[in-house]
């Protein structure tokens, strides 16, 4: 491979990192919520969309600084997650399939709620960072670096919280076996709420990062959520490390197909990859949970 080809390859890998970042942000929430409750939350995509719209409102309409809006989007969407868990999802914990169906309804509701108030057109904000860095022959947009850095920080925090803290240990125990965890005095219901809130906040953050990269519509959640599910399933449900690895794989597949293959088939590659991996290894690449044993 000559230097020019190498540079193009590196360029594609760098570009795809930002895409991986968004998918990972939504995938972590999906994988944690599923691992603990067995609920496939289809509305996770709409939570991401809400984060994007909130950022658009704050930055575009109210003139707030992007980084303040980023934090606000995570807080707002986290609060929405709290409300949804308290008012709806907690009543479906015994029947996760009902939780899934409800999330379909929620997704449609949230899409049209946003359209009702802020129409269905594309929404974008000015590049919050600006500038392009030149590293050798590779050009890197600063905004992409920012997106990857924020995601890396969020992923790092999540890992730390799950693997090092007392709460993380209790959470992993609850994911592995709810009943035993309950017998050990772990307040599982509180962890369910916490995971919903945390997953929602990450989705909100992901939405803010996404609108920094591309314009979004109220339907963007539908496109992103499948990527999030792909990541969660490929990595193994309930497995955060798996979600991160799978997010990187999908992002690279995406970037490489855009650079070398047929760009119009980009999304098809990730879905086909997901279906194939699940057929060969139903438990995901790194192994995960089948969800809580509730019939």
């Amino acid at each position: 491979m000559d230097a020019a080809a190498m540079a193009i390859l590196l360029q594609q890998l760098v570009n795809s990192l930002a895409i991986s970042a968004i998918i990972i942000m939504i995938g972590i929430g999906i994988t944690l919520v599923f691992g603990l409750t067995g609920i496939i939350n289809f509305a996770q995509g709409e939570l991401l969309m809400l984060g994007g719209v909130a950022t658009w409102l704050l930055v575009g309409r109210a003139g707030v600084n992007f980084f303040a809006a980023l934090v606000a989007a995570a807080v707002i969407v986290g609060a929405v997650g709290f409300l949804l868990e308290r008012s709806i999802f907690r009543f479906t914990l015994r029947r996760p399939m009902n939780g899934f169906i409800i999330s379909l309804g929620l997704s449609v509701f949230l899409q049209h709620f946003v359209i009702r108030f802020w129409n269905s057109y594309q929404k974008s904000i000015p590049d919050p960072v600006g500038g392009v860095w030149q590293v050798g022959s590779i050009r890197i947009a600063a905004v992409r670096v920012m997106v990857v850095a924020v995601t890396a920080a969020a992923v790092g925090f999540t890992f730390f919280a799950i693997s090092r803290s007392r709460h993380g240990l209790a959470l992993r125990a609850a994911v592995a076996d709810q009943d035993t965890a309950r017998l050990m005095g772990i307040p599982v219901a509180r962890y369910v709420t916490a995971v919903f809130v945390y997953g929602s906040a990450l989705a909100g953050l992901g939405g803010a990062l996404m609108i920094a990269l591309f314009p979004i519509t109220p339907f963007v959640g539908q496109d992103v959520v499948v990527g999030g599910f792909a990541v969660a399933l490929i990595g193994g449900l309930g497995n955060v490390a798996g979600a991160v690895v799978a997010g990187l794989i999908l992002g690279f597949a995406d970037g490489l197909s855009a650079g070398y293959g047929l760009p119009e088939w980009t999304e098809a590659y990730s879905f086909a990859l997901m279906i194939l991996i699940l057929l060969v290894r139903p438990q995901g690449l790194l192994g995960g949970t089948e969800g809580p044993a509730i019939v």
């Binding site: 009902n98 379909l104 449900l237 098809a268 879905f271 057929l279 089948e290």
Partner: protein, 330 residues
């Protein structure tokens, strides 16, 4: 017993009303909304067999309608096979596609599997969009009118409505027969306890795939009827969002009762159009409605109405009993 008789009278009257509709309300708009509702309802019956009986949920059923619709359009364009020839072929291709989508359900648990159906659906949209001349790309394909058969001109809205109605009634009848048959009982056994079903000798893999293919055939039929009604099809009709609405409708109406899917189709497709409700409002309402139905009436609207009826009848009996006791001076 009298409850069952009055139920039969009510459903006979309802079906008669459906047949008489073209003569009661000649409005073109009304009939065309009824036609599109009818085609969706046929798909919903297929999904009701799959979900209501076998317990397998799919959020990719619009894709199967798409397979049916595109099969019909391609047959017409390439081989000159018209509507009537396309019907059985499209049902077959949709059934085969459904079998393919159902294949992972044999290895992957129910929760994971739902996502795979959605991925398949999105995958199909991409394939259709990038299919070049074969699928007409993003702009889609056109279809010729159905034409005449046995001297009946199916290009008139009234006759096409009656055709769709006949197909819908056939779908309802088939669903009912399946639910009552030993086959339906086998599917319910798989839904209720798959491990035990295997242990008593049921080939669960075969029957799950079978249920999928059957459900796909319904969707294929619906796809052809819808395609020849619209006379133009494009990938967007068969993507993720339409699939979600199909899944939602069947849950709203109820998948395990005969009139559930029809009710779902009417609530989601017919009422808002006929009442000219703003689509954004109506969709917000379904979204919220679905959440409430699942939380409060998990059997769906129709099953809950039936429960309400039974409860009212029991209440009436009890009250009547009280009054007789009082009248007898106790």
């Amino acid at each position: 017993m009298s409850g069952r008789v009055s139920g039969r009278v009510a459903s006979a009257a309802f079906l008669l009303l459906l047949v008489a509709l073209p003569w009661i309300s000649p409005s073109y708009r009304f009939l065309s909304i009824a036609i599109s509702t009818g085609t969706v309802a046929i798909t919903l019956y297929g999904l009701a067999v799959l979900f209501g009986q076998a317990g397998l949920m799919s959020v990719g059923h619009a894709a199967l309608m798409g397979v049916g619709a595109y099969s019909a359009a391609i047959l017409a364009l390439r081989l000159g096979i018209g509507f009537w020839g396309a019907l059985p072929c499209a049902m077959l291709t949709a059934a085969l596609a459904a079998g393919l989508i159902g294949l992972p359900s044999l290895r992957v648990s129910g929760h994971h599997f739902v996502i795979i159906t959605y991925a398949f659906c999105t995958l199909l949209t991409i394939v259709l969009t990038n299919g070049g001349d074969a699928t007409g790309g993003a702009s889609g394909l056109d279809l010729d009118p159905v034409g005449r058969l046995f001297g009946v001109n199916f290009d008139s809205v009234r006759n096409y409505y009656l055709l769709v109605l006949a197909a819908l009634l056939a779908a309802m009848l088939a669903t009912d027969l399946i639910a009552r048959s030993g086959y339906g009982r086998t599917l319910r056994a798989i839904r209720e306890n798959e491990a035990l079903a295997r242990a008593v000798g049921i080939n669960t893999a075969l029957h799950k795939l079978g249920a999928f293919m059957l459900s796909g055939a319904f969707a294929g039929l619906a796809g052809v009827l819808q395609a020849y009604y619209l006379r133009h099809i494009s990938p967007g009709l068969y993507g993720g969002l339409p699939s979600l609405y199909i899944a939602m409708s069947v849950m709203l109406g109820g998948a395990r009762v005969l009139y559930g899917p029809l009710a779902g189709a009417v609530i989601v497709n017919f009422l808002p159009e006929v009442l000219s409700i703003d689509p954004v409002d109506s969709r917000m309402a379904y979204g919220a409605g679905l959440v409430l139905v699942i939380l409060l009436l998990p059997g769906g609207v129709i099953a809950s109405l039936a429960d309400l009826g039974a409860w009212a009848a029991a209440l009436a009996r009890r009250t009547a009993g009280r009054w007789t006791q009082l009248a007898q001076g106790r």
